[in-house]
Symmetry: C2
Subunit: 202 residues, 2 copies
Amino acid sequence: MKLYGMSDSGNCYKPRLLLAKLGRTFEHVEVSSHVGATRSAEYVAKNPNAMVPLLELDDGRLLAESNAMLLYFGEGTRFVPADGYQRALAYQWLFFEQYSHEPYIAVRRALLTFPSRAKDATPERLAQTFERGEKALGVMEKRLAASPFFAGEAISVADLALYAYTHVAGEGGFDLARYPAVGAWLRRVEKDPGHVPMDWLP
Amino acid sequence: MKLYGMSDSGNCYKPRLLLAKLGRTFEHVEVSSHVGATRSAEYVAKNPNAMVPLLELDDGRLLAESNAMLLYFGEGTRFVPADGYQRALAYQWLFFEQYSHEPYIAVRRALLTFPSRAKDATPERLAQTFERGEKALGVMEKRLAASPFFAGEAISVADLALYAYTHVAGEGGFDLARYPAVGAWLRRVEKDPGHVPMDWLP
């Protein structure tokens, strides 16, 4: 199977990280929004939402959305809780990641570090993403002060999703030293077997 | 169990709609962001992310995020596909709804119709939410021209999630007449047994 994505995108890192941990083989195909490749006619025919990552199975079926891929590959493994309520908590934190975390913590990093996004880095946008990113980190700190992982005692897809952009939040101007429970959790995720860094490619 | 939420919020409508269709009983507790109730100390102690809806089970366990509730209640019913790939497509569209649809289609409706949000309705914000909301409707139109429901041949939680704000997109200034496949799909969702309107409360 093929995974279309960017090597410096946290969203694209999520399925790579899980596939590496599960020992699954796949082909990485670099498609970079930096150079407009996500908006090419050929790519938009595969993903009308013009975003990465995109999964193409060997039979040609397609799947978009990084967190949907985590659930698809995680099903039946230790990364998706078997208990219904704990599984629901994993879902909760996956949606939190896409709605309350990524649009601020990932976007602020992109505004500050991707030359193609520099024109969007207005003072208002930087202030808004900082305020809401800090709120998200505060919500995470509260949860992680009470539980080793987001869905409970064991690591799950929710931790992999939230790790992707949290571990590089410093590049977006967030000071993780202010969130000690988040910092300790980042180290727990990294110690889990099979961890690979963001720039790892198969 | 208790469902904390707003009677005029599409996100809060989602679990109400599914619970009504499943014939499950629950208590609605009105918590309105219009009057600051989602930011009260008592509420934030239950949901640190200060958003509705929030589910409180009879044993006190809590669950946030509307789409997580859809998956939690939908598991094992006709609203979550049994096939792994179709289930993954349902996940894909649930994440699309929260990342690429709700922040524009729901938010533009809020900016235009909720007095508490009028101060945020700047020309720039209205233009941005219009452009991205139209993009989301275009992505939906393409999918629904090829498939009766988002995850395939049968209705799923993805359709309930996307119905919630799409059916009131006109209140946000979107012209649904330009999206005939979306319009036909709205009617199919409404014809599915047990449908209740957004202002339905138990």
